[in-house]
Amino acid sequence: MTREEIIDQVKEVLAEEFEVEQDVMTDDAVIKDTLELDSLSLVDLVAVIEHTFKVKIPAADLPTVKTFAQLYDYIESHL
Amino acid sequence: MLLKDKFYKVEQENILTPLHGVYLIALLPDADVYRGHFPHKPVCPGVCNIETIRECAEMLTGKKLFMKTIKQCRLTAVATPQVCPLLDVNVMLTPNADSSAYIIQARIADAETTYMELKGEFAINMNK
């Protein structure tokens, strides 16, 4: 899977799950603010990524995944 | 109704529009359900609060409603008859495209705390 394919798929599943427009998910945007995540919906994010890419993000790694670009990096390096 | 006058009692009914009502309810501390939820530690079962929302929506519309979908229901605080003896159940309904169901938005809260927020679709007179 190329990085472009990862980006397209992430945007597609997150837009559906969190009911946001795809174009708000710019590379440098902070995920938590863009998707208005709290402790409950953070679990949705982790679950959607796990379901879509079979990539588990342990709680300990979450602080390193702040922006969308960092999320793509994380998925790319754990596929 | 399953829970009216058994789990809660309606103290006041404020019908703002035919599709928007606020029901002030009193939780009944002697309700049977607390024997099992939990022994020596009465806590309102979240599902009883969901049922209470449905019953208030039925009182507002005068129709039997079927809980077809709960899009999202958040249980934001633990409710007990001691912590929140009186609660406001705020129910807002919007008919769907073919008027077979209501899109519902509801909230259970008192002056300080929100205990539940629910969004869903309740169908009219189905599956009876």
Binding site: S39, L40, L42, V43, D44, V46, A47, E50, H51, K56, A59, L62 | L2, D32, V33, R35, G36, H37, F38, P39, P45, G46, V47, C48, I50, E51, R54, F66, M67, K68, T69, I70, K71, Q72, C73, R74, L75, V78, G120, N127, K128
Partner: protein, 155 residues
């Protein structure tokens, strides 16, 4: 070996926990116990059962189970699964609270005499909040499915 074969042959369903033993897995008691048996548990998936009886707390005037009864059954099924996973490790069963019900669908309200057969799948866990999915069938018909988030409190 012979004894094992005997047991398997004569009981078409082998339950992991049922009857009074279910109380070791969940904190709810009569009148709101909504699981009869933990049928199987493997990896992240378990199966439970509940027979819908006339005296069930959630039976409405029309003699059908109310939809919140299905939600409670799915929540207690997840709770029984979490309890089982702790008990086999020798730890006490945790107390779980429903934090959120999401994407719940009810297709048909079960009737008295129906046996609910529910599959629970444990999903992602972050900071003590676990996502589970539950699907409830009567015979082979799906009557309800949902996603749920459960807070686990150590007691």
């Amino acid at each position: 070996m012979v004894r094992g074969v005997f047991v398997f042959y004569y009981h078409t369903k082998i339950m992991l926990y049922q009857g009074e033993d279910i109380k070791k897995l969940i904190p709810q008691r009569d009148p709101i116990m909504m699981v009869d048996a933990l049928v199987s548990a493997e990896g992240d998936v378990c199966q439970t059962e509940l027979g819908v009886r006339e005296d069930n707390f959630f039976i409405e005037e029309d003699q059908l189970l109310s939809e919140p009864g299905l939600i409670e059954h799915i929540a207690q099924s997840a709770s029984a699964f979490a309890g089982y996973r702790c008990v086999v490790k020798g730890e006490p069963a945790p107390v779980g609270y429903i934090g959120e019900v999401k994407k719940f669908h009810c297709y048909r309200r079960p009737a008295i005499g129906d046996v609910l057969s529910t599959t629970i799948t444990m999903g992602a866990e972050v900071n003590g909040i676990t996502i589970i999915t539950g699907e409830t069938k009567v015979n082979d018909e799906v009557v309800a499915d949902t996603q749920m988030k459960i807070f686990t409190a150590d007691e």
